[in-house]
Subunit: 333 residues, 2 copies
């Protein structure tokens, strides 16, 4: 089977640092190659793949800001569309714009909807619901206005995450510093639990950081800034638990899967995809408020860290994701 | 011949007020209908045409700001592309994005390049130079990097512009208030000529207006704000001359053609398309600086206003433009 994987071109595939959509396009492409699929990855020219790379854009438009994003996007997409007949299937990770070429080509298209940046883009997805198969990244992220062929969870490279049997005694907040992610709630949970809290992530909302996070920093509430892959492994693995008190319906939550791969249970507010990512009382706790989260911290010793690793490996691995997508492709062809 | 005319969807076609690309798409469509061509105009749903209107976008995204421009653009373009086989030819007035669909459809495409918003978009035009025929709106606006099938000047509805034999005694600046358009130079020319100056246009550069225009306003240097069609006719027609001391290579200059249609000569800095729009010493004067412009004002009585009207009617009419495009289409089919 010849499959074209269409990555975004904001960042390199896989990304150097940030770039979740490019990361998943890479994990899908490499996972398919491992399953013996003939994969051509359409991505920036500095991208890496064990398949065949096809590129007309030198660098991501977020990495070389002299470029016009709209120009490189449409040149990148049309490059694939003009070669569509070479492939048995196109797997689109590039949001809605490629859909508008889909009725002009002979090749079936699977589109992973990594998220809805706005309610307004639904009009495009609705129009093309009959000419492309949609995959959601969680049941929670499905729009009632669209038909879906499947839910396929994001898959990670399991071996990149080191399992840690004996953790340190701190709690961890890992993610963007933003009200949606509940940084202030995490601080509250840690203080009321009498535990140390490490905070790692980029400051996305500067006013929120200045007003609701910074004044509470201390020897026990420590802000580390963003963490690279090596530090991430250590921070996630050695945490007693990941605190994930989100205030929005998160479509997936990569750090929740990553923590569990390291053996670390997750205490999350019960929103969005959290019930799909966490096995209640087995790999963490789903709670509704800070008080319940504090109780969950007291019970964290009841969680088997090996169970966290096993659950995440079974459900959120690159191999599982690639196999699930292959089943979707076969259904479609 | 069945022709699809693709207008932008920033504004209604024709526009209520501003919207030069939509205006030209309308003039082409209506001019072709008058020549007996079977025209389908792809534009916003509130647009008007004597041909057939095809629309999936209710209102222009500049008129209903709740819309996402990228969403309505790609839905609008793909609507035409999916119907491409119904037409003998597509005439694209929508910049570069439609080009990226052109190799996926069976229908030849003519693209009028109304201007280059940035050097960066040239990459798209270069890629599609073999699959669409480019038309420039003046010889001056041609990029040396592109092949062109023809130059076709913008064409106006001649009867919308009333010829005025006996003007008033004022000079006119008509256009955006911006350094490119030379508002300050126009004031200088008027003062040194001892003539009254009326200034009509939207303030595009507020700092420039505040610093270099506003302090010089007086009983003789009058700022009127933007002018609608009725006032435009009166202002253009009753002017002794239009001052057009541009500081950039203007690709066309609609007001220059409009003034001449009203019988009003134009004194312009010799840049961009000005030598193509003005017949030197017959319908105006091409000058290099303010001093030469002042001399030209002294000689303005030597210009025949009837000659201005005749020249502009012969070269910048909707009828001429439609006939010129029809010749381009026939060459291509």
């Amino acid at each position: 089977m010849k499959v074209a994987v269409l990555a975004p071109v904001a960042w390199r595939t896989p990304p150097h640092h940030y770039g979740p959509w490019e990361q998943m396009a890479s994990n899908v492409a490499e996972g398919l190659v491992a399953l013996g699929v003939d994969v051509t990855l359409f991505a920036t020219a500095d991208s890496h793949t064990a398949g065949t790379l096809a590129a007309v854009v030198a660098q991501g438009y977020e990495e070389d800001r002299t470029q016009d994003a709209k120009v490189v996007e449409c040149l990148h997409i049309s490059h694939l569309m003009e070669r569509a007949a070479e492939f048995d299937l196109i797997h689109n990770h590039f949001d809605f714009l490629p859909l508008t070429y889909s009725r002009l080509i002979p090749t079936p298209m699977v589109t992973t909807i990594h998220g809805f940046s706005s309610e307004k883009i639904l009009a495009v997805y609705e129009k093309y619901a009959t000419s492309t198969a949609y995959v959601s990244i969680s049941h929670a992220d499905r729009s009632p206005r669209l038909p879906y062929a499947a839910t396929v969870y994001n898959g990670l490279r399991v071996n990149d995450f080191v399992y840690t049997e004996k953790p340190d005694d701190y709690l961890l907040f890992f993610g963007r510093i933003h009200p949606d992610k509940g940084t202030a709630e995490a601080i509250d949970i840690a203080r009321r639990s009498g535990k140390r809290l490490l905070i790692a992530g980029i400051v996305q909302d500067a006013a929120y950081f200045r007003e609701q996070v910074e004044p509470l920093l201390s020897d026990d509430i420590v802000f580390l800034g963003p963490a690279g892959p090596a530090q991430r492994n250590q921070l996630l693995g050695q945490a007693l638990a990941l605190l994930h008190p989100i205030r929005f319906a998160e479509p997936f939550g990569l750090s929740v899967a990553e923590a569990q791969l390291c053996g670390t249970p997750v205490i999350a507010f019960n929103k969005g995809a959290m019930p799909e990512l966490i096995q209640e009382a087995q790999t963490g706790f789903l709670v509704d408020n800070v008080g319940q989260a504090v109780e969950a911290v007291q019970q964290i010793g009841s969680i088997s860290r090996a169970a966290c690793r096993a659950w995440a490996s079974a459900n959120f691995s690159q191999e599982k994701m690639a196999a699930d997508y292959l089943a979707v492709y076969k259904e479609l062809i």
